[in-house]
């Protein structure tokens, strides 16, 4: 670890540490090359970059769903060898069980941990309320809109009370209006839950709007090109933020950095 990185970890505790991770898929496609990055505790960090920069691969390695070819990932100082209780995943396509009701889906992580039904449904019910789906407990996923399905996915991840939430383009399959509302809600969840969020997105506006820090990833070779902390004002209304010159400047700056990589 470099001296500068040491200094950072002294000031804010680090939740997730990715150290020189390389991932080569069978067939020789290099998704990540010697990636080193740290995620501070209690913050929402976005992984932003054009497609092919390995952001989803990195997230899946942190989740323990993929094994790195070399390098290590530590969560709270402990090496990641597979999925673990301290991490929960929110999937791009929601990954809900179509045969299970909203409440059972939301409680599924707890069900797998062996918690009894009353207890787990009480906890899941609380998070269903937090994500704004109170009253929908007994519906099935196919009866919900895309945005509502992803709220169930979020409730499921929150219910297991993991310290680190890994979100893989959670809003990309959700329509634009719903997405904006969802982004506002996620900010509240981040404030209330005191968890570490790692958020993969390809939307610059989304990254700037929801993140405390943005890791800008670039492809060929994949690397962290820059860490940006968009210190935009959070005390003003969501609509005011979206018109705030600081917000717009950061969006513009990131776009200038990325545009050369977009065909």
């Amino acid at each position: 670890m470099s001296a500068a990185a040491e200094a950072v970890s002294n000031t804010t505790p680090i939740a997730v540490e990715v150290d020189q991770v390389t991932k080569i898929y069978p067939g020789g496609v290099e998704a990540l090359n010697d990636m080193t990055i740290q995620f501070p505790k209690g913050e929402l960090t976005s992984l932003l970059g054009p497609s092919g920069c390995g952001k989803t691969t990195l997230l899946k390695i942190i989740a323990g769903l993929l094994k790195p070819t070399s390098g290590t990932v530590k969560v709270n100082g402990v090496d990641v060898t597979g999925p673990g209780k301290e991490r929960a995943f929110v999937f791009q396509d929601f990954a809900l069980m179509p045969w299970a009701s909203v409440i059972r889906n939301a409680a599924f992580g707890l069900e797998l941990q062996g918690m009894n039904k009353t207890e787990r449904e009480a906890i899941a019910g609380k998070y269903i309320d937090i994500v704004g789906l109170k009253g929908y407990e007994n519906l099935y996923p196919h009866e919900l809109s895309g945005g509502m399905r992803q709220r169930v996915g979020l409730a499921r991840a929150l219910a297991v009370n993991a310290e680190v939430l890994l979100m893989d383009e959670p809003f990309s399959a959700v329509d634009e209006q719903t997405r904006r509302k969802f982004q506002e809600d996620i900010l509240e969840v981040v404030d209330d839950e005191q968890k570490t969020f790692i958020f993969v997105t390809h939307s610059i506006e989304e990254a700037v709007y929801v993140s405390q820090s943005i890791a800008l990833l670039l492809p060929r070779p994949s690397r962290v090109s820059e860490i940006i902390r968009p210190d935009i004002r959070r005390d003003i209304s969501p609509d005011a933020i979206r018109r705030d010159p600081v917000y717009l400047d950061i969006v513009e700056r990131i776009w200038q950095g990325l545009r050369t990589y977009v065909e």
Binding site: L65, P83, K85, F91, D93, V160
Partner: protein, 251 residues
């Protein structure tokens, strides 16, 4: 279907064929084709007899036991094959071979091993039904959305939980299709088994009727069997359609 703007019921063509059959039968062209009406009368006559009921009971018993074994053994094998490449490589050639093999030829072997009784018939039924159930369960598991598998792993399901709480359910549309096709093959198996064993159940009746050229009895018996086969296939089809909604919402 509509003809001249009049809605024709689904099975209308069957009535037409029955009429054709009746005419041909009345012409007494062949002993093999008695008039349709005679067959219906014979059906009413033989169905309530003790011999028939006994044969039906044996057939139903062998069918149910055989199909149940095929389902209970076939689904787990199919799911395992879908999840594990090693198991898949080891079993797939055998499953494919047995699926298309002329299984009837194996029944005499079963007879020498298990005798001329219900055991052989049940085993024949299993042998006919199980392979398509295995293949469909395997296909269902292979079709599970990758993210659902990742979800199962990321919430740390153990092997048993993943199997019973996710994989089997996610593959349910294909598994049900497999069960339906398996049942149809079961019916074939249970009849062919009895025909070859030919001393119990419908096999004995077929033997009796054909040896004595009782064609009306023969046809009556066949119609009853066709009817049951149709009923089972349709019933399972209805069940399958109930699960279709989530096959569409899986991806």
């Amino acid at each position: 279907m509509k003809i001249f703007g009049i809605q024709i019921p689904m099975m209308a063509s069957l009535i037409l064929w029955a009429i054709v059959w009746e005419i041909v039968g009345q012409l007494e062209l062949s002993i093999l084709l008695p008039p349709f009406s005679h067959i219906l009368i014979r059906m009413v006559e033989i169905v309530p007899t003790a011999t028939f009921m006994n044969a039906l009971w044996i057939t139903a018993k062998c069918f149910l036991i055989g199909t149940a074994i095929a389902i209970v053994v076939g689904i787990p094998i199919g799911v395992l094959m879908g999840r594990s490449i090693v198991i898949d490589r080891m079993l797939l050639p055998w499953v494919n071979m047995f699926l298309s093999a002329p299984l009837t030829a194996l029944v005499p072997v079963l007879m020498t091993l298990f005798g001329f009784g219900t055991k052989t018939i049940i085993l024949t039924t299993v042998l006919f039904a199980i392979w398509i159930i295995v293949l469909d369960a395997r296909a269902g598991v292979k079709n599970i959305t990758p993210s659902l598998v990742d979800m199962t792993k990321s919430f740390q399901a153990n092997f048993w939980q993943a199997f019973t709480k996710v994989y089997v359910w996610a593959a349910m549309p294909e598994i049900l299709a497999g069960i339906r096709l398996g049942c149809i093959r079961s019916i074939k198996g249970v009849i062919i088994g009895q025909l070859l064993v030919s001393v119990v159940g419908f096999g004995r009746l077929f033997e009796l009727y054909s040896a004595n050229f009782l064609m009306e009895h023969m046809w009556a018996l066949l119609f009853v069997l066709f009817f049951f086969a149709f009923l089972i296939a349709e019933g399972l089809g209805v069940l399958e359609r109930k699960f279709e909604y989530y096959a569409a919402s899986r991806n």
